[in-house]
Subunit: 146 residues, 2 copies
């Protein structure tokens, strides 16, 4: 995440106040914003949502995730899992066996994040064609105009 601008978006401020955050000076949202951003960043990540989706079906080991998510590299899987673990969204349990076995699972917190995210996915699916149409028209106008 990058450095955070202190912004005063009405809707966010309203939400912030509803959650009992101090609204003095108009910088109410500012403090909360950095935390909000980190969540939105995660949703925007190329892989995080896919990982959470994978784990929604139950615990998975590292390699299962690696092969289940097409195109992800070991490195990125590790980094993403660490992030999710750090935020408490995913748990990591190491079994002391040979060969090593590590299971990843959604935490309760992680499970509560899923519905809002899926609502977004749902919206996207519902408006797929509408968006595509808009884009096509926009691009057509752009190229015809020059």
């Amino acid at each position: 995440m990058t450095t955070m601008p202190t912004t005063d978006v009405p809707v966010v401020r309203e939400l912030a106040e509803r959650h009992g955050l101090p609204a003095e000076g108009g910088c109410a949202a500012a403090e909360a914003t950095s935390e909000v951003r980190s969540v939105l960043d995660r949703v925007g990540d190329k892989w995080s949502v896919l990982i959470l989706g994978m784990l929604s079906g139950g615990p998975q080991r590292f390699t299962e995730l690696l092969h289940g998510i097409d195109g992800i590299s070991q490195r990125m899987l590790t980094l993403n899992l660490r992030q999710l673990e750090r935020d408490g969204l995913v748990s990591r349990t190491v079994h002391a066996v040979v060969p090593p076995r590590v299971d990843y699972a959604l935490t309760d917190l992680g499970a509560t994040l899923l519905p809002p995210v899926l609502a977004l996915v749902d919206w996207a699916l519902e408006n797929t064609t509408t968006i595509r149409d808009h884009r096509d028209q926009f691009d057509a106008r752009a190229t015809s105009a020059g």
Copy 2:
């Protein structure tokens, strides 16, 4: 956005099928995924959500957005607005006056995106302290371990 992996995430597939997308061969989600990603990308953008939030209070002109969103550059504002306009989330109306006046507003489609996004923001605000605690504990363990 980057090239899309064909992934078979159960939850997403389920949603895709609910929306009547062909589920043959297990690549059901794959086709829809690129559109889904573009939406998720927008949510993950540094500025898009803030812009949408700004416009939720009614139309705004370019400069109002520029000054209302702290830290954004002219360039990024323009780029983001073009993207949102291209997707049909935001409308751009030019008034033929001097000095030039351009108003940006949420479209109906854009307005329907707001609730899911705000649900996410709401989740983030609700779990701010929990997440922060997790992070602190994780970092503490990490540094103590080495």
